[in-house]
Symmetry: C2
Subunit: 153 residues, 2 copies
């Protein structure tokens, strides 16, 4: 499920972003890391680590769990992907350049994940943390339900 007219463009854009970010920061965007990012960007649904492994194995005989998890750690660290804790699965980041607090709308039917970055909601979260004298460091916000397209069926 892609939820976008031209998904090749999404993938292309994500890979170019990754290339650019790695270049700017002197990071090595190796074949393996690129391939894992491509697999994750095959669609807009969350991808499981062991499904990535299954794909990698077909083209890369030495692929093992650490192969995949290392690539995932690299991509997470540099915010090229996100982990959805409620699903134990990974999605490509939709806007790695301008990175703020983001949250996810996850469709239970078509599995499309939309990444949102609204200042309003982010502010509401900060306000609540402040009200509890809590110093906010990391936020996990994942909303599952049904997307517009699925509701219209």
């Amino acid at each position: 499920m892609s939820a976008c007219g031209e998904h090749d463009a999404c993938t292309e854009r994500a890979l170019q972003w990754a290339e650019q970010i790695c270049q700017e920061q002197g990071l090595r965007f190796t074949t393996l890391r690129r391939r894992v990012l491509e697999i994750i960007w095959a669609d807009h649904a969350p991808t499981k680590a062991y499904d990535i492994l299954a794909q990698l194995e077909q083209e890369h005989a030495s692929a093992k769990p650490p192969t995949v998890y290392r690539a995932l750690h690299f991509l997470l660290e540099h915010k090229l992907i996100h982990k959805l804790d409620s699903q134990n699965a990974y999605v490509g980041c939709s806007h790695p350049l301008e990175h703020e607090a983001c949250y996810f709308l996850i469709c239970k039917r078509c599995h499309v994940v939309v990444e949102c970055c609204g200042r309003a909601l982010d502010q509401a979260i900060s306000d609540s943390a402040i009200a509890h004298n809590f110093s906010r460091q990391k936020t996990t916000l994942e909303i599952s339900g049904e997307c517009e397209a699925c509701l219209q069926q």
Copy 2:
């Protein structure tokens, strides 16, 4: 870590709630389920399933993973506990009677979890879902950072 003056009172209250809720709904609050709830309520930190198992084993020779997970499923189903997806761990529900959308402040230092239920933040989440024509069914909101007590040290 308890984050409350009189933690025995927290536990006592939680067990009585559970008793009452099960009675009202014709559910069986068995020894095993009560014991798992007690273990979770030993403090305000998230508890891991296999740590519960380790405790149960000492007093209940036949305890195995399904023993624990069944009790957890029961307690989750009836909203006596919550699972924190960002930690793979479980906490007692602080207000099982008046249950609305809730979210969690998780202290990285002392591990105390505070469950919050603010209408304002809940509304902001709904607004955002509506803005994306998304039908919201389940929300995971977990904020990790440092609590007031730890910040003052």
